[in-house]
Symmetry: C2
Subunit: 352 residues, 2 copies
């Protein structure tokens, strides 16, 4: 049995998409149990309509909901110990749940997760990992926005965290790993990326296959299973790709409705367009995974609908099922046993 704690008050739709999402997941994953945190009047009446769902769900009333526009510090100030977001995270800390899902605001969720769960012993900073649909399948890309900037040791940590996630999700033993970089040689700066490359190349036997540097267009190609970068470039890359996909979708819709011939063609090819739409559907890859914490937290997109929110819950479920945290801890132990100096320098960095 896998228990998932859920912040019912996050996201643009609040509890509106929650119940259909839980119904979907409960149908597809029969050994799941939900711990749902939110306002009684908003959640309970809907939940009670579905006795089968209510039977696998425990509901906990929380007065406070973190708002989508709360700054992380505000959220911590008025939501710590008592908000639905905090309570859902705390359930993971207390061992009442194995993973926490929230569609609430990213900054607040990360701040609370760090405060409540703490980072793993040898990890300086958590990262947010995205699942990126590629021409070859799916890749893990991190950090897509937990923090800006990363030194070489933090990039190596991200590589290990992302490897663990790829191993748990894609069922591969040795994912390939690339460091995101720009192509021009001898360019100044980004010494930390070069240094991280050196560390990974020299790391010896690990659960990953270090590929080298990759560029922006390698992400969509699926050149590697895990793409590692710091949070500023990673966030820009993710949002730029989303924007480009939407832009092309707009072109396509406009082109297919412009002439009668195009409209007829669209009708014939509708099945193909449906397949394409499914391929481009961001809901299927919904969910930013917080890695490097003592617990699994998944951030669902704020605007996700029921299918998207269900995908985020199932992402958390699958990572628990496949032993994500154990894999990461084993990989970290392996790396640090071989590189005691990396441990030391990361601990020093932590003290700054």
């Amino acid at each position: 049995m896998i228990r998932i704690s859920i912040d019912a008050m996050g996201g643009d739709h609040g509890p509106g998409v929650l119940i259909p999402a839980l119904l979907t997941v409960a149908q597809r994953r029969t050994d799941v149990r939900f711990l749902v945190y939110g306002r009684e009047d908003a959640v309970r009446p809907e939940l009670n309509k579905y006795p089968k769902l209510a039977a696998v769900t425990e509901f906990f009333h929380c007065d406070i909901a973190v708002r989508m526009d709360d700054k992380p510090s505000q959220a911590l100030r008025h939501g710590r110990w008592k908000s639905s977001m905090w309570k859902a995270i705390e359930a993971v800390k207390n061992g009442e749940a194995e993973a926490c899902i929230s569609a609430g605001n990213t900054g607040a969720l990360m701040a609370m997760s760090k405060f409540c769960l703490r980072t793993m012993a040898t990890i300086d900073r958590p990262a947010i990992a995205a699942i990126w649909p590629t021409a070859r399948g799916e890749s893990v890309v991190l950090d897509v926005g937990a923090t800006i900037g990363a030194d070489a040791h933090q990039l190596v940590d991200f590589a290990i965290l992302g490897t663990g996630m790829a191993r748990a999700l894609f069922g591969m033993e040795r994912p390939t790993v690339g460091l995101l970089n720009v192509g021009v040689e001898e360019i100044k700066g980004q010494e930390e990326v070069k240094e991280a490359g050196r560390l990974l190349r020299e790391a010896g036997k690990m659960a990953m296959d270090y590929h080298g540097f990759v560029e922006g267009d390698d992400i969509g190609k699926g050149t590697v299973d895990v793409v590692v970068t710091e949070g500023f470039a990673g966030n820009i890359a993710l949002k730029t790709a989303e924007g480009t996909a939407r832009q092309i979708g707009g072109y396509l819709r406009a082109a297919m409705s412009r002439t009668l011939m195009a409209k007829i063609g669209y009708l014939f090819a509708k099945g193909a367009f449906d397949t394409l739409r499914e391929k481009m559907d961001v809901r299927r890859a919904n969910g930013g995974v917080f890695l490097g914490l003592n617990g699994i937290v998944v951030k669902s997109h704020g605007g996700a609908d029921a299918e998207g929110f269900a995908a985020a819950i199932e992402l958390g479920y699958d990572m628990v099922r496949n032993g994500l945290l154990d894999r990461i801890e084993a990989d970290l132990d392996l790396f640090h046993a071989r590189h005691p100096q990396a441990t030391r320098s990361s601990e020093l960095a932590d003290e700054n």
Copy 2:
């Protein structure tokens, strides 16, 4: 009459795409003259086949060609003073041409351009600007890879340079300008982006309309006419968007050839698909523009075909025709007259 100097030896195809490209441009821009630099045996025989083109072209033999895999320092060492790339740039410096086009390697072209043309008096660093097709038309995005990292004053310089380019190319008086950033509040780092935002907000009357921060998905939306960022994130964004467009193009081709119905639909909608392909055609937006130098240099994509190379030449032509450098210098003078402290601090930075 506008004179364009051309490095005939750059790019993956060398002179093979050059002559068709020149033919295309000479047909569409009747007051253009070409100064072509390259190896006699590679260029002259082709050129002589087209007397009309030969009549508007001056050819100069150069023994040395910069290789696509030369590092910038190597290229400078063995190609300075004598390579076709150097000679084409030097023609701009000597006033023999108004713009230089090369499909040669970016790092070498930038290093030689900086060495030969020097940066404008109040500009620390040049930037590479890309023309980005958006849902609303086109935007200028810079820096897409000249240098990594930028302080607040350099970002403000980029904003002024990009504004000049948008004014010259899009015929607008006051382009809107946005600083690329990530959405999460209170995130640490990127102080330089915040500081640049403050400087632009307080800059008073300028030829731009400062919009504020934009995120990755705003680029494709066309939220602003000019998107400003440092070269690492800019390069990653550009290549990620290119990769995403190619990836979706692949999905589309696969979807349209999978079933008979889809194939029939494709035939009906072929006109619409052609329009779409044209919209997604990266050749139309080919050409990275080097801004901040005392002269116009356009980098064509190394793999560009004749139509793509022609687009890069016409980009250079159009910027000369519309007085790019004069506009930029007027904008810089206006800014620095109002902000003498910005001039001072940028000059100090230059000495570091």
